[in-house]
């Protein structure tokens, strides 16, 4: 099927509106993507026709809801090429996924060991590891980056050593757009016997990930960044790893037997899914995955790349414009500053012209410190964005700058 952005836009009714009297230009996709009709329909269909709690009921609706949810687990397994569906855990989001692993390692990681992250992580892939290190006495290290926003791979063998327990890093930086060389990092971790976790927040909507060919231990995705509902994350873990670590939440669904004295845990994936799951979210995410795969991630990514190139080129003509993050290998995130102008002011004036961008630190304060800036303006593109929208953005940006300088 040929990629037609106008057909795609029709699937996203929210885009067809005016903000402050101007047509909405939504460029905050790295924060959250809009939802196609298929996703909204799947959710309402669930509530209209087969809402029931899953896994417990013998009645028909419960069985239908359970089947729908479990078929999404299988869909995700296939999408990531995991070995088995039980390795796919439904969480509340990426933050929840990472916390589950960091907590689960509390009894295995010891003083004298270290945990490695990178200089370009989202706070959600920094703080849980700081907490793990505080609990265990392990050391938190990071792989540094250069002025282009690329990881300094020469340092890999120094930072990741025999005492490294786990290496946790993002596939694509939400602030810089940098696509990190996942396999190189994983291979160094393997050499020293360290575990690996890859944060796929920004890669989910743009790239195909094969967890078996990566040979990664844990991988996590966010539904709402992939055109699905909020409140749902995916945690992939290799069976042997998930079996080796402790669950971090106790409750219903995750147990095998419970007495008042002691409980035994259920097998995978339920061991990590305490409480009633986010059934509508899971069903909606299934519809989102189907939607993405019907269009094709390669076509989506190619379209986004041409938007990024066009936007970068058009912006470079603006006086004082400076891209933050110009890695050779980059996803559709354009983070920038304009000399003499505060990002917040640009954000306000773009909003007045109907253009939604993100301003600030993007939950990555260490990156701002590294570049010695207060924050950036970030425009991030999705499958439904157009070249005409970039033209509106550029003229809106020029107008804002002329008012501010």
């Amino acid at each position: 099927m040929a990629f037609d952005v106008h057909d795609i836009r029709e699937q996203f009714p929210i885009l067809n509106q005016k903000v402050h009297g101007k047509p909405l230009v939504y460029f905050d996709n790295a924060a959250t993507a809009q939802k196609p009709i298929a996703v909204i329909k799947a959710i309402s269909d669930y509530y209209l026709n087969y809402n029931a709690n899953v896994h417990r009921g013998v009645h028909t609706l419960s069985q239908r809801a359970t089947d729908a949810m479990e078929s999404v687990r299988e869909q995700v397994r296939a999408h990531l090429n995991a070995a088995e569906a039980a390795e796919i855990i439904f969480t509340r989001g990426i933050t929840d996924s990472i916390n589950a692993i960091a907590y689960g390692l509390s009894n295995t990681v010891q003083k004298g060991q270290n945990v490695v992250i990178t200089a370009m992580e989202h706070h959600s892939n920094i703080v849980p590891w700081q907490m793990l290190c505080e609990r265990t006495g392990a050391e938190l290290r990071h792989l540094p980056m250069d002025e282009h926003g690329e990881l300094i791979l020469d340092r890999l063998e120094v930072v990741i050593d025999q005492n490294t327990a786990i290496v946790a890093f993002n596939h694509i930086s939400n602030t810089l757009g940098t696509i990190n060389p996942v396999q190189k990092i994983i291979s160094q971790a393997k050499k020293v016997g360290a575990w690996t976790l890859v944060d796929g927040a920004q890669s989910g909507p743009h790239t195909i990930v094969d967890v078996q060919s990566w040979d990664v231990d844990f991988f996590t995705l966010s539904s709402h960044k992939m055109y699905g509902p909020t409140g749902l994350g995916i945690l992939y873990g290799k069976r042997e790893r998930l079996e080796a670590i402790a669950p971090y939440q106790g409750g219903g669904e995750m147990i095998s037997t419970v007495t008042l004295e002691k409980s035994t845990y259920a097998g995978l994936p339920h061991k990590f899914e305490a409480g009633t799951p986010h059934v509508e979210g899971i069903i909606g995410f299934g519809a989102a995955l189907k939607f993405i795969n019907e269009i094709g991630i390669e076509s989506i990514s190619a379209h986004e790349q041409s938007l990024l190139e066009y936007a970068t080129k058009q912006c470079s003509g603006i006086k004082g414009f400076r891209v933050i993050g110009n890695s050779k290998n980059k996803a559709s995130v354009l983070s920038f500053v304009i000399d003499g102008v505060h990002p917040y002011d640009l954000g306000v004036l773009l909003d007045q012209q109907g253009i939604a961008v993100r301003t600030g630190q993007h939950c990555t304060q260490p990156i701002m410190d590294a570049f010695c800036i207060e924050g950036t303006v970030r425009a991030s593109f999705a499958m439904y964005n157009t070249f005409e929208e970039i033209d509106s953005f550029i003229s809106g940006l020029k107008k804002a700058v002329s008012m501010l300088l």
Binding site: H342, Y344, D345, V348, E374, K399, M403
Partner: protein, 138 residues
């Protein structure tokens, strides 16, 4: 010397002149640009107004029975907003500042027009000015 009430009325009339919000913002920006800068040594963390998305430094001193405000911000729109507040509140009796009702923010629509986080930032500035005024009128 115009009173707080009269100052507010002047601002309301100025803003009524613009139909488009971009023009109103332009006016706020111009006010921000014309507010004298605080010297760098005065921009210390003690003067930062908490709860603003950008950095806003607010300084107050007493001159006879009047309170004199000066301020700066790293973002120009925030600076324009604090400039409006200074226009209304500065060089007024501290007791009147502490007791004043601010109606111009609603009248010119600024409060509704800002996002909730930014409106909170605006209210923090007002609160901070009133704290100073209360302290000085005690």
């Amino acid at each position: 010397m115009a009173t707080i009430q009269e100052k507010q009325q002047i601002l309301i009339e100025e803003f009524a002149f613009f139909d488009e919000w971009m023009d109103k913002y332009n006016h706020i920006i111009e006010m921000g640009k014309s507010l004298p800068m605080l010297p760098e040594n005065k921009k210390n963390n003690d003067l930062l107004v908490p709860g603003c998305q950008s950095k806003v430094w607010l300084h107050a001193e007493q001159h006879e029975d009047k309170i004199i405000f000066s301020a700066d911000a790293d973002a120009i729109i925030a600076k324009g907003i604090v400039a409006m507040l200074i226009d209304v509140f500065s060089n007024q009796p501290a007791q009147e500042v502490a007791a004043a009702e601010l109606k111009f923010l609603e009248d010119i629509g600024l409060k509704d027009h800002l996002s909730p986080t930014r409106a909170n930032g605006l209210m923090s500035m007002v609160k901070q000015m009133k704290y100073y005024a209360l302290a000085f009128s005690a």
